[in-house]
């Protein structure tokens, strides 16, 4: 940390304005690559959603929309707390800065905790893509039993959709499985970004603890990290309608599902 002894402008910059512009620019260029990164999978999703709308709506209806709703508000509030953190750093209020960084870390961590619970519930309900099959016996019109091979995923998703009172007529469960592959890939990538974001926030909290932000011009580092954090929020803003709200849901169902996730009944 040579900069803290030699002043806030690093040797390869002409002045502070140039340094701060460069720091912001660097993050924006990185975010361009991130937009294209998420754009790729969202584009693939769009193609399949247009091809198989009914099956994707069925997959969406099987998701826990209660957790997703609460998580949306958590992430939005964390965008607020980090923005207030920038102001605290700019004003040189170290105590407030640490408080807002900590609040953002807490909100992000609760989001991840709930997401982990959601994945766990999905696992318990058997909503994991698999090629496993089981033999079931079904009676035909004459009462004759026949052994039929059925996909484990199909049996599970049909059970969940039946519980959600979703009409499964005309739904192809293999295509629903495709929806779930998108669901895990997209939310998984988002979770990965959240984990990295939490790492950055923790690092800045440590820096704040060590007095790095005593130079108030260094507020720009909080600002630049907040650009990344806001971007992660921005991705979620699109994941919510694409994955969770594509199918039919109600507020009552969301409340019920959230209470279920917390083990309240």
């Amino acid at each position: 940390m040579a900069a803290s002894t030699t002043g806030p402008v690093a040797h390869h910059f002409d002045n502070l304005a140039q340094q701060q512009t460069t720091v912001r620019m660097g993050m924006w260029v990185f975010l361009v690559t991130e937009v294209l990164f998420f754009g790729g999978i969202m584009c693939a999703y769009t193609v399949y959603r247009i091809w198989f709308p009914r099956d994707f709506e069925a997959g969406s209806a099987a998701l826990n929309v209660g957790i997703a709703t609460v998580n949306t508000f958590l992430l939005l509030t964390s965008s607020l707390t980090i923005t207030l953190g920038i102001r605290a750093a700019y004003a040189g209020n170290q105590k407030a800065l640490k408080g807002w960084l900590l609040a953002t870390i807490v909100l992000g961590s609760v989001f991840l905790g709930l997401k982990a619970r959601e994945y766990h519930l999905d696992y318990q309900e058997g909503l994991m893509p698999t090629s496993k099959k089981v033999v079931v016996y079904e009676k035909d019109d004459e009462g004759q039993e026949h052994a039929i091979e059925r996909s484990v995923f199909a049996i599970n998703v049909e059970r969940v959709l039946h519980e959600e009172k979703f009409d499964t007529a005309g739904v192809n469960t293999q295509r629903v499985q495709l929806f779930f592959i998108f669901y895990y890939a997209m939310t998984g990538l988002h979770v990965l970004h959240m984990v990295i974001g939490l790492g950055l926030l923790t690092w800045q909290l440590i820096l704040a603890q060590r007095g790095f932000f005593q130079h108030t011009s260094r507020y720009v580092y909080i600002e630049v990290m907040s650009l990344y954090w806001h971007f992660v929020d921005l991705v979620w803003i699109f994941l919510l309608p694409l994955l969770y709200l594509a199918g039919s849901h109600t507020f009552e169902q969301a409340i019920h599902q959230f209470q279920h996730a917390l083990g309240m009944h």
Partner: protein
Amino acid sequence: MSEPKETIFETDEHTVPSTASTMTTFAILLALTAVALTVGFSNVGPWKALVSLLVACTQAGVLAYFFMDLRQADKLTWLTVGAAIFWTGLLFLFTLTDYLTRHMAAI
């Protein structure tokens, strides 16, 4: 000894938004989330996906303009954001025009 050089960048006169304006942005985002959820939890038929995405785009716009401070960004940053939107547009355009018209080739 070299003379201190003039910056080649545009002058960068950033001010940090006041707490009041930050809270206003947050309130707008909360209201838009309420709209997104109301649309998501209702049955507005085939337009649901389009309306949901329009609301999401508005939310993203507010978030980028105020929280990500595009409001004060220089031309180079706007160009960078524009490039991201442009290339993502191309990504969608060429992928969709290919995949959604393939059945037309099967004459």
